[in-house]
Amino acid sequence: MASVRPLVLELIRHTSCGLPEDVLDALARARDREEPGSRAYSTFERMIQNVEAAREASAPICQDTGTLIFYVDYGPDYSPHQLERDIVGAVRDATKKAYLRPNAVDAITGSNSGDNVGVGSPYIHFHPRRTKGLRIRLMMKGGGCENVGAQYSLPDSSLGAGRDLDGVRRCIIDAVQKAQGYGCAPGTIGVGIGGDRVTSYMESKEQLFRRLDDRNPDPTLAALEEELTESLQKLGIGPMGFGGKTTVLGVKIGARHRVPASFFVSVSYMCWAYRRGELEIKGDKVYLSGRRMIPAEPRRRTAAGATAARTARKAAATPRKKTAKASGAAKKAKAAGAKTAKKAAAKSTKTTSAAKTAKKAAARSAKETAAAKTSAKRSAARARLKPAPIPSRRASAHKLPVL
């Protein structure tokens, strides 16, 4: 199995430096519900601008690049040990490239590991599967919204919440109201019902891997999700808690079996900077959040001039060296014997003619890039400083992020 480290690095960049389309659409709809010129409207407008700017610069949309939560489904053709090494390596790479902020802090000493790697960080769930291939899902959950999550143990008399769906609903309303704007509203609410303390929260997080526009397969939960997504807007908390018509982008609920004695309701709040991504490998095809990745021809679109110039320079330089070597070899060969000399000479002629063609090609491409040369130089310099941008969704829906 080949290393997936560069692919995971790309997954991290893609996830950190943009938002999923369904989330961006929801933010645009939220903006359009507000009065133009209002505080809420300009807040949503700035959020959307920020995502565009982040994509162009390949910079994290939020400086809190959060807890890195990986869910890995791997087929028999992958080894979890190597996957772990690759993921951890990619996390180190991503931190070096500033797609991630150093976010792993020693809980006792308070020192920052500097590379996002520490005890339990990054957090990776492995799930073996029978079919070949690999799927890695990544969620980056900021600390601000993680802090407003809440777990309830029913019955809860302060809320009048019993051990039924009505009780569950009361808990969700209470959690969202108490979260105010602290978790960077409007949030998406993941809810886990049942399980134990751990798996209940886990369920609530796993719900956040769902798309905003999907439908819960359980009709009861689907109805509750829809009703709450509408009702919770009446809280009027609005973007960042400034007041407004949108308080949540969605509510996603899952249920697990519980022991008779326990009834937990866990609420995970995901900020508007809802970063989730998915890398899938099927055979030799690689998909990033549902779109085919083309690993060949890297950076052609972004620094086309630079690449062309580089190729031209290489083509011009390499054969010359080869020719020199070849003629040197020919001299040696002459002393050794005529037969080999002939061969070497033939080789040398071949390479010389190849050099000629290459030179011609180089001249041609140099001409082609002449106009773009200065900009190529500049973009080459820029490319060294910062990586290729993720194309804007609006500007180029079909352009794919490349390695």
């Binding site: 300009s42 500033a98 600390g143 601000g144 105010q180 602290y182 508007w272």
Partner: protein
């Protein structure tokens, strides 16, 4: 239209601001978050005092990059949750003569009282607006205690231009957060009483 604010700023100018005002800030200010606050109340930090007096303190742990020329650059710099600094902020405002605190989520009663007493405001930046806000940071003047605190926690002295924020706590005891908390609590209780409108599981599955 947002009001323009130039730093440093006087107490009387700060007292003219009211909750709900949208502002755009230009000038030199300083960042500081959890570890910095803890440090600032433990000792009197001369360097910080020089950087912060009559200026704003920004609750932010940035992502930074150092160029080949040795210049620091802010890559992502949105606000962090302010309430964590509640135990320290009133004292920091008093000791260091800060005129504004920028963060997110608002702060508590003690800070609100300090704002009123010492002539300071709380400004809410948009959380998660890391790139747009990093672009407002036009220059990094320097960094204080980078070795001891690490990148996010260090105190960065920065030059900003047209940095957008909303005044959510003013120097007159007003807090937009309290207003919205109260109205949303009422709405939440009304919603709870409405009960579940979804059909019970058994009926739905039929």
């Amino acid at each position: 239209m947002p009001k323009k604010i130039e730093l440093p700023i006087t107490e009387s100018a700060i007292r003219e601001l009211r909750i709900g005002d949208e502002v755009e800030i230009s000038g030199q200010m300083v960042t500081g978050r959890d570890a910095a606050h803890k440090h600032l109340v433990k000792t009197f930090d001369e360097t910080f005092h020089r950087l912060a007096k009559d200026r704003f303190l920004y609750h932010c742990g940035p992502v930074v990059q150092r160029g080949a020329d040795g210049e620091w650059r802010f890559v992502a710099a949105g606000p962090t949750t302010s309430i964590r600094e509640e135990p320290y902020e009133a004292e920091v405002i008093e000791r260091y003569g800060i005129r504004g605190v920028i963060g997110k989520g608002g702060m508590g009663k003690r800070t609100l009282d300090a704002l009123q007493k010492f002539g300071c405001v709380y400004l809410h930046a948009i959380g998660g607006l890391a790139v747009v806000l990093a672009q407002c940071v036009v220059k990094v003047h320097g960094v204080h205690m980078l070795e001891e605190l690490g990148v996010p926690e260090a105190m960065w002295s920065i030059e900003v231009k047209d940095f957008p924020a909303v005044v959510t706590m003013d120097a007159h005891g007003g807090s937009l957060h309290e207003t919205i908390f109260a109205s949303s609590r009422e709405a939440a209780l009304r919603l709870m009483e409405q009960g579940v409108s979804a059909p019970p599981r058994s009926a739905a599955s039929k």
